[in-house]
Symmetry: C2
Subunit: 200 residues, 2 copies
């Protein structure tokens, strides 16, 4: 299974959330939404071998987390507004319990941030996308069971960076230019596709 964990430093879904102005009303959740498409969709299909986690550290009070599983999600559309509506509805659904609670097929939300995600990913081999790190193309990758951590437009905070280092996450880079998070995901997915023929 391929897992992507995208960490939004300011992202949240709350009262002010507006589809007409996502970047300003959601702490740049739009960055994370575009990663959902890049990780989970290919031409006319969903990647059933992929799970995406969004970590929204900007949430008032507790951070929020969202999980979308390619194997179970339904009606995932590629346009940004559709993904925004899905995420908005997911957080608006009443729920009970701790950890990830499924609110619709393939979509679960949790109170909590990186901790709740780390508890969920288990023993997958961790990689962290970092500028200037070793080239992804040259890296040994556990393409059968891996988790890739990706920062948003402002990158990782020190606490997150420390947690990932303690976890033993291996730094990898996608190239010489600092890319948008969704382009980073697209390039990683392409590298994994190339290593596992028959994917898709």
């Amino acid at each position: 299974v391929r897992r992507f964990v995208v960490i939004g430093q300011r992202a949240f879904v709350g009262e002010a959330f507006s589809l007409a102005n996502l970047p300003a009303s959601s702490g740049r959740l739009d960055v994370l939404l575009r990663c959902v498409r890049a990780a989970l969709l290919f031409s006319h299909g969903v990647r059933r071998d992929t799970i995406v986690y969004l970590v929204l550290l900007g949430a008032p009070g507790a951070p929020q987390a969202l999980r979308i599983e390619g194997a179970a999600v339904k009606f995932l559309r590629p346009d940004e507004r559709s993904v925004a509506v899905l995420v908005q509805k997911a957080f608006a659904t009443p729920r009970a319990g701790s950890g990830f609670v499924t609110v619709r097929p393939g979509v679960a939300v949790a109170e909590g941030g990186l901790d709740v995600v780390l508890a969920d990913v288990g023993d997958a081999a961790p990689y962290v996308l970092e500028e200037g790190a070793a080239d992804l193309r040259e890296a040994a990758l556990d393409d059968a069971d891996a988790v890739f951590f990706v920062g948003d437009d402002v990158g990782f905070d020190e606490a997150t960076r420390g947690r990932l280092a303690a976890l033993g996450a291996r730094p990898v880079a996608v190239g010489p230019v600092s890319l948008h998070a969704d382009d980073v995901v697209a390039v990683v997915v392409n590298e994994l596709d190339r290593r596992t023929p028959g994917t898709g």
Copy 2:
């Protein structure tokens, strides 16, 4: 200069255009909008060495074409809605003249389809993204002056395919999986970045 030409078989900007339902109201212009971001933007910057053309073959009457030049465009935001508003305003601007007419800094529109774009790109080395073609990573690329033709979610029509073949466009592929057009652009951009250090 890097050029991307994205061809939308059904795409148009017209009376029914709705930001609340882009995929259905614009003949999947959303596919093309996402390519604009992938081609022109990197983290906190615009790629000044890149020009994107959108060809909207779904336009009632004549096809429409749009050109966005990284070296001159202002206020290009990454979220899909912002790019949609930019394109909508560009086509709504009164204009006179044939060929590409600049309607705001770095943004020009034209009546016409592939012909008007081909007249504009001049002698740039042409490549066409095709599934199953030679691997982009192994291809000799004129990264100084190239134009990449990319299809939308339904691919190229036969007329377009014939024109590109007559032009001598070299088929290249990005990998074993059929990707969304914007992911194709992201992967091509990454390959070009890797070949031209100092980019961005």
